[in-house]
């Protein structure tokens, strides 16, 4: 559905994007993840035809955005970082304008806009001036604007930014709903959002794609050796000695006393060894109760930091 080939765009020195390529099949929800200034917005602006790349091509639904801009744009709904709202218009006037601007042909303009408003939760504010709406509602009007004309591809630049937690959940559900029948790219720097909504993650850092995978695979691949967090009641030194005696445990580090009479330990097992059962029996035999045991998967935050750090090093070495 979306085909992006070696996009490059430079602004001044060392900004912009450096050869981004990816391809998104129909019906996928893809998350663009990256720190501020990584090139997410630039990439999205190029895909939607707002900016042009120095090098590279973008094809949407089989149409090149530069050669057949009108055909390609007909398939795209775009919610930019700042929703493109005319504050002096009511929601009704604005959506009518967008409908006409996009040259949408549907059996009934009123029904179409009505259904979009319902999806975006705008029915209650339909006759109000956009300038008087709260930020969350403005964001929804922006989302509704992107959905007018029922495009196959939705490109959403930080759709949940500035919303309160309840609105965030609502907007995410709207996006998930829409994603059932559409291809969606959404950018964010909020990591849990990606695992909540997306089927695939593209991590961008310093204008390069540093990872492209499913959110859960990303966690597994970077997590490395399995680490466990254990809280064990008993005297520290003896427990530590006992843990170090365990065959499967490669490394133990003590975190301190979080709950009186117990200590927390981070246990790193050898690859492909499950240490939980033998450790539990050993502790039980020695009379040190295990109060808590949970896997310490690398969180998306850590993965993200790791990836963007390596991306950083890579670009630096490239330049050097």
């Amino acid at each position: 559905m979306i085909e992006v080939k070696s996009l490059t765009k430079t602004y001044g020195k060392n900004r912009g994007i450096k050869g981004i390529s990816f391809s998104i099949p129909e019906g996928q929800i893809v998350g663009f993840l990256g720190p501020n200034g990584a090139g997410k917005t630039t990439t999205m602006n190029i895909i939607t035809g707002y900016l042009s790349a120095d090098i590279g091509t973008v094809t949407v639904a089989g149409f090149d955005i530069l050669e057949k801009p009108r055909e390609a744009k007909r398939h795209i709904g775009y919610l930019p970082e700042q929703p493109p709202l005319h504050l002096g218009m009511t929601v009704e006037e604005y959506l009518d304008f967008v409908y006409e601007l996009k040259g949408v042909r549907s059996p009934s303009q009123k029904d179409h806009i009505g259904s979009v408003c319902e999806m975006a939760g705008l029915t209650d504010v339909y006759f109000r001036l956009i300038g008087h709406l709260s930020k969350g509602f403005k964001q929804r009007v922006g989302l509704a604007q992107a959905m007018i004309g029922d495009p196959d591809v939705l490109i959403l630049d930080e759709p949940t930014v500035g919303l309160d937690p309840r609105q965030i959940v609502e907007i995410r559900n709207v996006i998930k709903d829409m994603g059932k029948s559409r291809t969606i790219i959404l950018s964010t720097h909020i990591l849990p959002e990606v695992s909540a909504v997306c089927e695939r993650v593209l991590v961008i850092s310093q204008g390069l794609i540093v990872a492209d995978d499913k959110p859960e695979n990303l966690a597994g691949s970077i997590g490395g050796e399995r680490t466990l967090l254990a809280r064990i009641a008993g005297p520290k030194s003896q427990v530590l000695a006992l843990l170090r005696d365990q065959d499967g445990i490669q490394n133990v580090s003590e975190l301190g006393e979080m709950e009186s009479g117990s200590h927390d330990f981070v246990l790193e097992s050898r690859p492909n060894v499950d240490i939980r059962k033998p450790m539990f029996s050993a502790l039980a035999k020695a009379g040190y109760p295990l109060l808590m045991l949970r896997p310490q998967d690398a969180s998306l935050e850590e993965i993200f930091l790791k990836l963007t750090e390596t991306g950083h090093e890579k670009t630096e070495s490239e330049e050097g």
């Binding site: 939607t48 042009s52 055909e71 002096g88 601007l101």
Partner: protein
């Protein structure tokens, strides 16, 4: 194009801009009309030539109000992202905006029909003069609007757009004065060239009822050139 036209035309009246523009004209010009054509019995005349040349002066100051927001405001509010990612041709977009401003200008002309109507009540209109003046003011008004739109496409600051347009209009006027005053000092070819590009010379030809095709082609070309330049500016923004 129609969508843009409708939105922009409406926006003139949902913001104070349209009212300031029309109100400013009406206040100043009707006062002039009252003073010169009605009140003062000694100078009172049936001729509208005076008020139209006064309108030409006022136009230099009020047209920037009409055009300053056209693209600047879109850039500033980032609504240009909606325009430029919609399946619309840039030329259609510029044309829609041009026609919206032009329509406001026509609203003004509609209101100005008060003058010939009032004259008709108390005297006799010189129909050729009235017609010539209307044609002249329409052509030069359209040219000013096209220039103003072009200036507005260059900046996201409304004030700069307004001052820039004003500077352009006043500059053109000064050039005209200069040509008239230096006609004897300048070489003949330069005077001919300056006369050829002179907006006001052609305007006064039309307003005096000398309707020549080349004058209309000239004004049409000015509009076309500035609107085309606007399209190029918008295109260039994508590559910056």
């Amino acid at each position: 194009m129609l969508a843009i036209f409708k939105r922009d035309f409406r926006a003139y009246f949902t913001t104070p801009i349209g009212f300031v523009y029309l109100g400013g004209y009406i206040l100043v010009l009707n006062l002039y009309f009252y003073l010169y054509n009605i009140a003062n019995v000694s100078t009172r005349s049936n001729s509208l030539a005076g008020i139209f040349s006064f309108m030409l002066m006022v136009m230099m100051f009020l047209t920037p109000i009409l055009t300053m927001r056209i693209f600047s405001e879109e850039y500033r509010q980032k609504t240009d992202q909606l325009l430029f990612t919609s399946p619309v041709k840039l030329s259609g977009l510029v044309m829609g905006k041009f026609l919206a401003s032009l329509s406001i200008f026509f609203c003004l002309l509609l209101l100005s029909l008060l003058w010939p109507s009032a004259i008709a009540l108390i005297g006799q209109n010189n129909m050729a003069e009235v017609l010539g003046n209307y044609l002249g003011i329409i052509t030069i008004g359209a040219a000013y609007i096209a220039m103003g739109i072009f200036i507005s496409s260059l900046t996201e600051n409304q004030v700069i757009a307004a001052v820039g347009s004003l500077g352009l209009f006043v500059g053109l006027y000064l050039l005209e004065m200069l040509t008239a005053n230096l006609a004897t000092a300048l070489p003949g070819w330069a005077v001919t060239a300056l006369r050829f590009v002179s907006i006001f010379g052609r305007y006064s030809d039309i307003s005096m009822g000398l309707l020549a095709l080349d004058d209309f082609v000239y004004f049409l070309s000015i509009c076309a050139v500035f609107l085309f330049l606007t399209v190029r500016v918008l295109e260039k923004r994508r590559w910056s």
